[in-house]
């Protein structure tokens, strides 16, 4: 059964909300995925993204995870991928919270991937060329860990930015998702129209309660 971390304090939750705000202020150059920059420039920009302070993973583990995310949803001619979305940051933070029960699976899975890279290609996973990384990932494609990390990479790329992923809304822009709205008109539900993305998190709307976000919710057990 899924464990929920009732232990997390309200203060901690708000602190995390604050961190999200910081993560959202990444360089503006990364926020225009529709201007399809050449792949090399995209990759260079991605490499320049500073890593947020880690909350669950070790730096070595985070290197492997960053590299996996970047191959699952690559930065390419279709624009930014999981790297720019900061999916690995989402996962790291979640592993210290809602996804804490998966922490051990990550420790084992990331170590295993690195061992495979060293065994078959003589170098850690993160330093392999993308094609070699893909080959090693193919070896573990049917494992439970791969299924887990794929699901979490999708979450980190396409979730509400409140959770530390989908930075600068690059995930939502990839899908042409027009964004969280609180009112939608009849015209906005017609086929053939194009809605301008509003780049809003649910929690940019003042009416919603951040304290119950994140699935940490001890709320249901309050008096």
């Amino acid at each position: 059964m899924r464990k929920t971390d009732h232990g997390l304090s309200r203060r901690e939750l708000l602190k995390r909300a604050g961190l999200t705000g910081a993560a959202a202020m990444l360089p503006a150059a990364l926020s225009s995925p529709t201007d399809a920059a050449p792949e090399a420039a995209q990759a260079a920009a991605a490499a320049a993204i500073p890593r947020e302070p880690l909350e669950a993973l070790t730096a070595a583990e985070a290197d492997v995870l960053d590299a996996i995310c970047a191959r699952l949803i690559p930065t390419d001619e279709n624009g930014p991928g999981a790297k720019e979305a900061r999916a690995a940051h989402y996962i790291d933070r979640a592993l210290a919270g809602f996804l804490a029960p998966s922490r051990q699976a990550y420790a084992a899975g990331l170590a295993d991937l690195d061992r495979r890279a060293v065994a078959s290609r003589g170098t850690p996973f993160a330093t392999l060329a993308p094609a070699d990384q893909d080959a090693v990932l193919k070896e573990i494609e049917t494992t439970a860990f791969f299924t887990l990390v794929r699901a979490h990479t999708i979450q980190g790329t396409f979730c509400d930015p409140f959770y530390g992923g989908n930075a600068n809304f690059v995930g939502w822009d990839l899908l042409d998702y027009p964004g969280v709205r609180t009112i939608v008109t009849a015209d906005e539900q017609k086929i053939g129209i194009t809605l301008k993305p509003n780049h809003k998190s649910a929690y940019d709307y003042a009416m919603f309660n951040k304290a119950t976000a994140g699935g940490h919710g001890d709320h249901g057990n309050e008096a």
Binding site: I73, R150, F158, W172, Q189, F208, N209, G220
Partner: protein, 566 residues
């Protein structure tokens, strides 16, 4: 030793869709009610449009008491357990995050045995099925459907008002006494496209009924169509839940006292077989709430479990179970065996809600001739506008792309807004060997066994599922779908929001737990509310029927107070 609380007229266990509605006529009649609810009060500020929290992480269900009480499933020799419980503990219960589809059953659903026998012969009813006609027909329940539709606010297009057929609505529905209190929710580009495809097949498309305001109603806002109704609460209170409709009204009478965080364990009965009150825990402290009448309204699985846990000298095998019927005649909708389509253009389904859809009833119930077929019953076909980004990115790739990498990314970039999944609700019959009991080993944190589901879909359900998939595929193809994916048809009847039976209603105490009024055949001052009293499923969502029955049971209690309470 439990603290004995002050006596009350009626104690209601569970303030969800059924209990939350049932309290209103009782409070309005001036009887004092104590309502025990395991959850707490939530409000619209808690219902952020947050896909990760609501749809991926199952908040707020995941943090509830119910999560420690998930039923187990004994299936084909193995014991399984779902990762989450579809029921929710809160004032308003699961209706806080339900889709709010608010259907009446069709006339056939009340008379499956007699109508099938009349039209095709008794041999067409599967031998192992324990299905019975209801003790009354749709006409008896109609006034209660009507009352509840107006109390909670249901939007829809009538198809049959006192026998006058209106082709804009469901031509197969039974006669209703008047129109819906509100017009239907608006259509979308996608639902209009699907309705037009259905008409090209000669089928009757219509907007489904929803307990969601299509315009301002009873002081509550109209729907904003923002797209987070699916497993989320309403941020403007446009969606009904008793939390925002019947419970506040009942509180205004001064006769309803709501106790939250009350974890009910057992119902007490005396040596004469009358119930005397309810035991519950709050933060591990024991309380006993005495009452003249007990109404059990906890959800199908928990209604059976609570009765089986409540043993006494008068009821050694569990409350109201001296005929061995508690837990029997369990069934659920076969919500598997879906059909998904890929279209060659964007559908613009990013907003909207599961109740904003278009329905086909041509293949439901006995609305078509089964003479040449090898099953009875049918399915309601339903498509709707509903999409969110994590779900969209997790879409099936229809064998057109790998599961990750650049090709996958290109595929979802192109197709994220081009798929649609149908919701196909199908008749399920009760069978002698499909039942609920207590798990022999798995217990909740206070040491009580959880409910166990012993049930599979049988031949009738499996054949019907394949038939309905054919119809759904034809509908999608007519609308221009370029790929179709059918989910497998499997016999596993898992834990679900559409769970029925266990305390079936009927005149015969040898085969039913409650009488035609919803009161126990064995413990006369115990009433049971919820879909657990329903003996057939129809091919549509159960909530409105459970609510109409709850209102009827409550009204019966009020009218017969002296006889039932003493």
């Amino acid at each position: 030793m439990a603290t004995r609380l002050k006596d009350t007229d009626v104690v209601v266990i569970g303030l969800g869709a059924a209990g939350g509605v049932g309290v209103l006529p009782i409070a309005q009649a001036g009887l004092d009610i104590v309502a025990l609810e395991a959850g707490t009060w939530l409000s619209k500020k808690d219902f952020a449009p947050d896909e990760l929290r609501n749809n991926v992480r199952d908040w707020p269900m995941a943090v509830q008491k119910a999560q420690h009480e998930i039923p187990t499933q004994r299936v084909l020799g193995a014991t399984l357990r779902a990762p989450s419980h579809p029921m929710m503990n809160a004032v308003g219960g699961t209706s806080l995050h339900y889709w709010a589809q608010s259907w009446r059953l069709n006339p056939w659903d009340f008379k499956v045995v007699s109508e099938t026998t009349k039209r095709y012969g008794a041999a067409r009813i599967p031998k192992e099925s324990t299905v019975e006609d209801w003790p009354f027909g749709l006409d008896e329940l109609e006034p209660f459907y009507d009352r509840v539709e107006h109390e909670i606010g249901v939007s829809g297009q009538a198809g049959n008002i006192r026998g006058a057929i209106d082709r804009r609505g469901n031509i197969f529905e039974g006669p209703r006494s008047r129109a819906f209190p509100m017009p239907p929710l608006r259509g979308t580009g996608f639902t209009e496209m699907m309705a037009s495809a259905a008409r090209s097949l000669g089928w009757h498309a219509f907007p489904g009924p929803a307990a969601i305001n299509s315009r301002t109603y009873d002081g509550r806002s109209a729907c904003m169509y923002h797209g987070f109704c699916n497993k989320g609460g309403c941020h403007v209170d446009a969606k009904n839940s008793p939390l925002v409709t019947t419970i506040p009204k009942a509180q205004k009478t001064g006769h309803l006292s709501v106790v939250t965080r009350a974890h009910v364990t057992t119902i007490e009965a005396d040596r004469n077989g009358r119930v005397t009150g309810v035991n519950y825990l709050t933060d591990g402290v024991e309380y006993f709430q005495p009452a003249k009448v007990v109404l059990l309204a906890t959800y199908t699985y928990e209604n059976t479990r609570t009765l089986l846990l409540s043993k006494s000298p008068a009821f050694p095998n569990g409350l109201s179970n001296n005929h061995g019927q508690v837990g029997r005649h369990y069934f659920s909708h076969n919500q598997t065996a879906g059909v998904t389509a890929l279209f060659p253009k964007n559908l613009n389904n990013w907003y909207g809600l599961p109740a904003q859809g278009v329905a086909i009833d041509d293949w439901a119930d006995d609305n078509f001739d089964h003479a040449g077929l090898d099953f009875i019953g049918g399915g309601n076909l339903w498509v709707f506008s509903d999409r969110r980004p994590i779900g969209a990115a997790s879409m099936d790739t229809f064998r057109r792309a790998p599961a990750w990498g650049s090709q996958w990314k290109a595929f979802i970039k192109e197709n994220a807004d081009r798929t649609n999944s149908s919701y196909l609700q199908k008749t399920t019959l009760p069978y002698a060997d499909n039942y609920l009991d207590l798990d022999p080993t798995v217990k909740d944190p206070v040491g009580n066994p959880v409910c166990r589901i012993n049930a599979t879909f049988k031949e009738n359900e499996m054949k019907l599922a394949a038939f309905i998939q054919d119809k759904m595929e034809a509908w999608y193809r007519a609308a221009g779908a370029i790929e179709i994916q059918r989910q497998p048809i499997v016999p596993i009847m898992g834990v679900t929001t559409h769970a029925y039976g266990g305390t079936r209603m009927g005149d015969n105490p040898d085969t039913n737990v409650v009488n035609r009024w919803g009161f126990s055949h064995e413990a006369p001052n115990l009433g049971i509310l919820g879909a657990s009293v329903m003996g057939t499923s129809g091919a549509r969502n159960p909530t409105l029927t459970a609510q109409a029955l709850a209102w009827r049971t409550a009204e019966h209690l009020v009218k017969n107070w002296k006889a039932i309470a003493s």
